[in-house]
């Protein structure tokens, strides 16, 4: 399998034609005569045996049909299907019971068909690999730089001796820096594995895993000079990798931390500042997450836009729910903070079951928009996942916003006055009721925002809230109740500690250690990371 790519490339080259050259010379008139041949090619795919299918793929690759790439892509995506009357169709949208289809050969839309009447040309992972390689081969000659980059990348570790001269030619012709670099690297990997000094030298400092595999093979080779050079290269690379791994762990930690911060920051308002032990906080987050889902249902095909709109919408939905909770229950519990625990726990049960009954007990799918998936590649050994980077940034923005509101607006002052001495605050003319509503709405709304962010990382389901409530309280308390900075620092540091511990302790033990750490830390600082100091706090 490993060598399939070079094989395919070779056959392809032997034909001595490139598709893009071909594409120009083909005209529409010849397509009908081609259809019979094309049908034959496709027929060959509709067999039981995967080996036979593999051969059929090669045949398609070798044919000079300009639609070959599209067919292969359709096959790869599982959209190449057959109707009962033997027609090959392309499934345009395969969700639900009836799917819209189009004819593969003519491209003519055929309306919707029942999935019962369609039979898919199945592939397995082997064929998938083969297809990818095949497409890559075609793409190596593509005019599109992106496609060339992808296919050059695929060549790493897949090159064999026969291919080297061809690749050297390609390198000479290639204009794009990146494609050239990858192709050079691909050749170097082959050479290093073959024990050639040139290969080893070219791979020095390369962080790509394939290079490392090649170098370690070279290091075990017979020629002591090459082996030594390879070993030296390797140890240099290991050093680099260690640094990269450290950075990666830090990133993991900050990103886990940002999730904790997001989950906790709303609670830092409702619990930390207002003193309401809000057990329904998690369910408010859940509402935010479901809002994202609902948005995506409302705007099918535009997951990104839906996600962006979910930010204000999630805030509003959760904030309104917060207002309802405050008006309906919490206002009657003034001065009885512990009772809020009881009531909000009841509310959280109700909200959970409400979602189960009204929507579904099952998780909902929230789609990650294109621009949020994948990673930002820093180098071959370090890439930062984009969705988490967005979440990290989002958490910081939300934090900064809250900080501004609490520090710079009158609401911040008034809510603190009201919680510290309600009667006196009212005597000073502060509208305590309004302050309560607004603050609770703010805290709840932020929970909603957290839910929007979480929908990109984890399950959107009725249990979402339950999974975060304990952690949230822990972060708020660990940071020091009533201190927003504390929440930020606590969340981020717990995240980092957890991720640093995880590789050597395992996920379960790491969690236990973090909990024990919290217990011991509180012994040292009985009022959290950033305690309220002085007479005032001691009361």
């Amino acid at each position: 399998m490993r060598r399939f790519l070079s094989l395919a490339l070779l056959c392809f080259l032997l034909l001595g034609i490139t598709l893009n050259a071909q594409a120009q010379s083909t005209d529409a008139a010849s397509s009908s005569t081609n259809d019979a041949a094309a049908l034959e090619l496709l027929e060959a795919l509709d067999v039981e045996s995967y080996t036979a299918k593999g051969e059929a793929i090669t045949a398609i690759l070798q044919s000079d049909d300009e639609r070959a790439r599209d067919w292969l892509q359709a096959l790869l995506d599982g959209r190449l299907q057959r109707t009962e009357d033997g027609r090959f169709v392309l499934v345009l949208e395969n969700r639900g019971r009836d799917w819209p289809v189009a004819d593969v050969l003519t491209g003519e839309a055929l309306g919707e068909m029942s999935r019962r009447d369609l039979e898919r040309i199945g592939i397995n992972n082997n064929l998938r690999n083969q297809l990818r390689s095949a497409i890559a081969v075609v793409d190596l000659y593509s005019l599109n730089v992106e496609r060339r980059r992808t296919s050059a990348e695929r060549l790493l570790g897949e090159v064999d001796g026969e291919l080297v001269p061809t690749l050297d030619d390609l390198i000479a012709q290639e204009e794009d820096e990146q494609v050239r670099y990858r192709l050079t690297q691909a050749v170097a990997i082959y050479r290093a594995e073959a024990g050639e000094m040139a290969g080893v030298e070219a791979l020095d400092g390369s962080l790509h895993p394939r290079s490392r595999v090649a170098l370690s093979r070279a290091a075990n080779g017979d020629d002591p000079v090459v082996a030594n050079a390879a070993a030296a290269s390797l140890s240099g690379i290991e050093q680099q990798l260690k640094i990269n791994r450290g950075l990666e762990t830090l990133y993991f930690g900050l990103s886990l931390g940002s999730v904790l911060v997001l989950a906790a920051i709303g609670l830092a308002i409702t619990f930390g500042v207002m003193g309401v032990i809000n057990m329904a906080h998690g369910e408010l987050m859940m509402l935010g997450a479901y809002t994202t889902w609902a948005m995506q249902q409302l705007l099918p095909g535009q997951p990104g836009l839906a996600l962006i709109l979910s930010i204000p919408a999630g805030f509003m939905v959760a904030a309104l729910a917060g207002v309802a909770i405050e008006r309906g229950v919490i206002q009657f519990l003034k001065g009885r903070p512990l009772e809020t625990l009881l009531a909000t726990f009841g509310i959280s049960l109700i909200l959970q079951q409400l979602v189960r009954t009204v929507i579904s007990p099952l998780n909902r799918t929230v789609i990650t928009p294109e621009w949020m998936s994948g990673s930002l590649v820093v180098n071959d050994a370090l890439s930062l996942t984009l969705n988490r980077m967005y979440v990290l940034g989002f958490a910081l923005v939300v934090f900064a916003g809250l900080m501004l509101i609490m520090r710079r607006t009158r609401l911040g002052l008034e809510v603190r006055a009201v919680t510290q001495n309600r009667a006196m605050a009212r005597s000073m003319g502060i509208r305590a009721t309004r302050v309560d509503i607004m603050t609770f709405a703010l805290g709840s709304g932020v929970a909603g925002l957290a839910g929007v962010a979480l929908s990109q990382l984890t399950n959107v389901g009725p249990n979402l809230g339950q999974n975060y409530i304990i952690d949230s309280f822990m972060v708020v308390v660990f940071g020091g109740v009533g201190n927003l900075w504390g929440t930020l620092v606590a969340g981020l540091s717990l995240g980092v500690i957890n991720q640093v511990l995880e590789p050597w302790a395992g996920a379960v033990l790491a969690k236990i250690i973090v909990l024990v750490f919290i217990i011991l830390f509180i012994q040292k600082r009985p009022r959290g990371l950033f305690p309220q100091k002085g007479r005032a706090a001691e009361g």
Binding site: M1, D77, G78, N94, R95, G96, R97, R116, E119, R120, G122, I123, N124, N125, N126, R128, N129, R132, G157, P209, R212, V213, E248, T249, F252, S255, L256, Q353, R356, P361, L362, N363, R364, T365, V366, I367, T368, S373, G374, S375, S383, T385, L386, N387, R388, L457, T458, N459, V460, G461, P462, N463, Q466, N467, Q499, E502, P503, G506, A507, V508
Partner: protein, 416 residues
């Protein structure tokens, strides 16, 4: 008396963490009962569902089971998902002599007189899946990733032994990792898997990750760019139901091993799916393996009742061994003397529509093995509930029935 409906207990969590998986099973049994009633009931009597909610709380499972058997006096129970809930219920059904049909794949190492295991035992899922990876895909390196509880632990132990002994896989080519329930931060583990797979050998992940932890797991896999073609993940707990909560686009090609897929091309299956969609009123509703298990279990029980002419537990228990009913994948399921059933093993690849494409299946059905051949303690045990053996853990080496007779003897001694 004879006109009284036959009571069918349904013991699935409708709230709490397991509701996500179990609610549909409750609906499935209710649907099957409805269908049966439309077809005239059983023995001329109507069936009546008795639904309770054990709320994902294990002691509550025991309590509800006792209520079903002692208060409601149901004739049979369909229920449970997690092994721990089954363990909690087991003493109750044994004491009150009930019938329990358990529909979920599990770790084996159990055979009770009163329980019928319609889900897969490890030899009906894990072992064939690994055979597939080695023989068909050419995998040489395995990351065993699971949730930290008994089912993954056992499965992985069996697999480790199997990989080393039968396929000569080296210690360093096996990586094992456990995470807590509901684990949501997979960054480190996925990075570790990625590095594990970058060493040059074809690598696969065998996932016994349970329930809610799967969504963040797969999300992280796709974000860190782990593609099914590079490092395929084969899962034993991810079915169509779980996929409804995941954006499957990036997961295409990852695998699952089950005994049934919704995509099975078979008319019985299409009828079942249509009935299900109609019953739920949801066009998007999916079916999955434990649902099929209940379908088989329900039909087996109905068949046994018909055969016995009564719902009496002891009679049905004897009658059901050997009963064979069609499964949904075009074959037949038979109840074995060890209270496990025969099942085909299917490997499917995830499609971007949330369905599985079946890429491989065992040539014939596999009989469930209550006691694993790969574990030292259980190698010598067999279960056979036919007369005269009537034992769930017969030790073939010393030729005696393990704990059960000892217990009976003690009981007898106490009674005197």
């Amino acid at each position: 008396q004879d006109d009284d409906p036959i009571k069918v207990g349904i013991l699935h969590s409708l709230s709490g963490t397991m509701a996500i998986s179990e609610t549909v099973l409750k609906d499935t049994v209710e649907m099957l009962i409805e269908q049966q009633n439309e077809a005239g009931g059983l023995l001329g009597r109507q069936l009546e569902a008795v639904v309770v909610d054990p709320a994902s709380n294990w002691p509550l499972f025991a309590e509800r089971a006792r209520e079903l058997l002692a208060q409601e006096e149901v004739d049979v129970i369909f229920g449970n998902w997690t092994s721990v809930s089954r363990k909690a219920v087991l003493p109750v059904v044994e004491e009150l002599n009930g019938l329990l049909f358990y529909p979920v794949q599990y770790e084996g190492e159990e055979s009770s007189e009163n329980v019928f295991y319609t889900g897969a035992a490890p030899n009906q899922q894990a072992i064939p899946a690994v055979e597939y990876l080695i023989n068909e895909v050419g995998i040489e390196r395995f990351a065993l990733v699971g949730t930290d509880y008994v089912y993954p632990r056992t499965t992985n132990r069996i697999l480790e032994a199997f990989l080393k002994d039968e396929h000569g896989i080296a210690e360093e080519d096996i990586m094992v990792n456990y995470t807590p329930f509901g684990h949501s931060d997979w960054q480190n583990i996925v990075a570790e898997i990625r590095r594990f797979g970058e060493e040059g050998k074809p690598t696969a992940v065998i996932s016994t990750v349970n329930g809610d932890a799967n969504v963040p797991f797969y999300t992280e896999l796709s974000n860190q760019g782990i593609d099914a073609a590079d490092i395929p993940v084969i899962a034993f707990s991810v079915g169509e139901q779980e996929l409804t909560g995941i954006d499957t686009g990036p997961l295409v090609g990852h695998l699952a091993a089950w005994n049934y897929f919704m995509s099975v091309d078979n008319d019985d299956n299409y009828d079942f799916i249509d009935a299900w969609i109609e019953y739920t009123g949801d066009d998007m509703a999916v079916t999955n393996d434990p649902m099929e298990a209940h379908y088989i279990g329900f039909n087996m029980w109905a068949e046994a009742v018909r055969k016995a002419g009564t719902t009496d537990v002891d009679t049905v228990k004897d009658a059901i061994i050997g009963v064979t009913v069609p499964n949904l994948s075009g074959g037949y399921a038979a109840m074995m003397p060890n209270h496990h059933i025969t099942k085909p093993v299917l490997i499917g690849e995830i499609q971007d529509n949330g369905q599985f494409d079946i890429v491989w299946q065992t040539p014939s059905t596999v009989a469930g093995d209550a006691w694993s051949d790969y574990l030292p303690g259980s190698r010598d045990l067999i279960a056979d509930w036919r007369k005269p053996m009537e034992c769930g853990n017969f030790n073939v080496v010393n030729g005696s029935c393990g704990g059960s007779t000892a217990a009976e003897e003690a009981e007898a001694a106490l009674a005197e």
